[in-house]
Amino acid sequence: MKRAFTALLIASLVLGHSAPAHAYLKFGVPIRGQQVTVKWAQTPVRYFVSDTGVPGVSAVDFQNAVGRAFATWQAVPTASITYQLAGVTSALPGSDDGSSVLGFRSRPDLDRVLASTSFLVDSTTGALIESDIFFNSAFQWSTAAAGETGRYDLESIALHEIGHFSGLGHSALGETEMISTGGRRVLSAEAVMFPIAFAPGSIAARTLKADDIAGISDLYPDGDFQTTDGSLSGSVTKDGQPLFGAHVVAFNPATGTMVAGFTLNAQGQFSIGGLSPGPYAVRVEPLDDADIDSFFSSAQTVDIDFRVAFFDRVVAVPKGGDSGQIALKVVHK
């Protein structure tokens, strides 16, 4: 659990989600009874960086590392979102002043939160007005090119937070294990948007994965993305009843990539967008019980009592269209 603060925020935004979301999770807010995707209405998205550094990371180092992370998202060829550095500011992230600010703040009380993203959303349109990212200076940070033992890689964490900043929620493509001191340790992940950070010193999360790329492209499609890529959709049931909160993974055997989504409504339906056309193998799994708060509100009943399973049919994802509804059936553990 990298960021309890972020997780709570995500949970509150996901609360009441009634429509299947493409890719992993996109933030949504209910407006006049309709679930509206939270995203920036105009680009380039302007952001300010704080003029304050921390031990091991100067203000310039910070600005450069954040700039590289923004550039990584902007370089996704199938997404249209762009970002622009508006300047350096002495303002702190977290103040609702209409300016998006990224910077350090000391929050020793949030002892499991490396960084978090907060939003100001237009409640009539769902458009983002402001998004701030704070990096917790209670932790040790590094911007070294090869990483630094005992310090968290700022660029990696910024890449994750900028995903939120852009409107993306968490991905569940990762494996964790319990650690003796409490909490969980990530063993592996295949999405920058996985909610738990790699150990200090790792720079493995500086590269976007297929799931991240599908998500940002689905949110901000560029050019002919919607006509060249496809989606895979269906429903998950257990004992004939729709299952909420199942994690569904689409695996492309041609590329070896995975893109995932969730069942997000009372009918147990899911839709995974941003997929390259081709045949897919489909896997359905329960969320790790420790991860649920990172994805769903505690008010929502997520069913994790079922076995991991694969669909027994190859699913063809067409160019610019949908696979057609597939029916995944799972059984109790």
Binding site: L173, A189, A254, P279, R307
Partner: protein, 226 residues
């Protein structure tokens, strides 16, 4: 090696074509041949692929593994041939079959039972062949051994009917044909059967790594000569 064989075959065909002795010494007794039959195209392995996640050290950690193949399938085969000379026939040939695409999933780290996911593909081919009736024919007039080579267009339609993979194919092989009767009614000049075996090389289409896949193909048909 296969490409070399095709080139060699093509060159020999051209040399033979340009030699007037065949055409003048033994003019073709029939110009047109229609054939219909069955063709089996063997399994094409599509490789293995792991669903990897990345560790903090940047290493790969497989979540599960897949092994894929396009199964062998028998289908229908039709062709039209035009005799160019005593020894050479040019053909247009089409086939239709419904092979099964199989993705076998195993070694799931969370203990999911192994599954072979399947899908039926509708596969169409259309292409051209050059058939060379070997001189050995003189030894046994009823049986005519031949070498065959050709290539063409491959179209594979997935189960849903919404996804199409296209590619090309080449083949080289040999077989034998025999006339069951000669002369006949309705302007026919003979009825016979033909069988062949080929090395069938598919490029693209349902090919996860984008490479060429070689499999064995065999066919048998009935033909009518006009």
């Amino acid at each position: 090696m296969i490409r070399t064989a095709i080139v060699t075959f093509a060159l020999s065909a051209l040399c033979g074509w340009s030699a007037p002795v065949f055409a003048q010494a033994d003019p073709p007794v029939s110009r047109l041949e229609l054939g219909v039959g069955v063709r089996w195209i063997g399994t094409a392995p599509l490789g293995t692929q792991a669903a990897n996640e990345t560790t903090g050290a940047g290493a790969k950690s497989p979540l599960f593994s897949t092994t894929s193949e396009l199964g062998g399938a028998a289908g229908i085969d039709g062709r039209v041939g035009v005799r160019l000379s005593h020894s050479f026939v040019a053909e247009i040939e089409g086939t239709y079959a419904k092979p099964e695409l199989r993705i076998a999933v195993s070694a799931d780290t969370e203990g999911a039972a192994p599954v072979t996911a399947t899908e039926t593909i509708q596969q169409f081919t259309v292409g051209g062949n050059l058939v060379w009736y070997l001189p050995l024919r003189q030894r046994s007039p009823r049986f005519a051994p031949f070498a065959i080579g050709g290539g063409g267009y491959l179209r594979q339609l997935h189960d849903s009917g919404t996804l199409v993979d296209t590619g090309s194919f080449y083949h080289v092989g040999g077989g034998v044909s025999t006339l069951l009767s000669s002369g006949g009614r309705w302007h026919t000049k003979g009825v016979g059967v033909r069988a062949d075996v080929r090395a069938f090389i598919r490029t693209n289409g349902v090919a996860f790594d984008g490479g060429s896949k070689t499999s064995v193909a065999a066919g048998a048909s009935v033909f009518v000569r006009f």
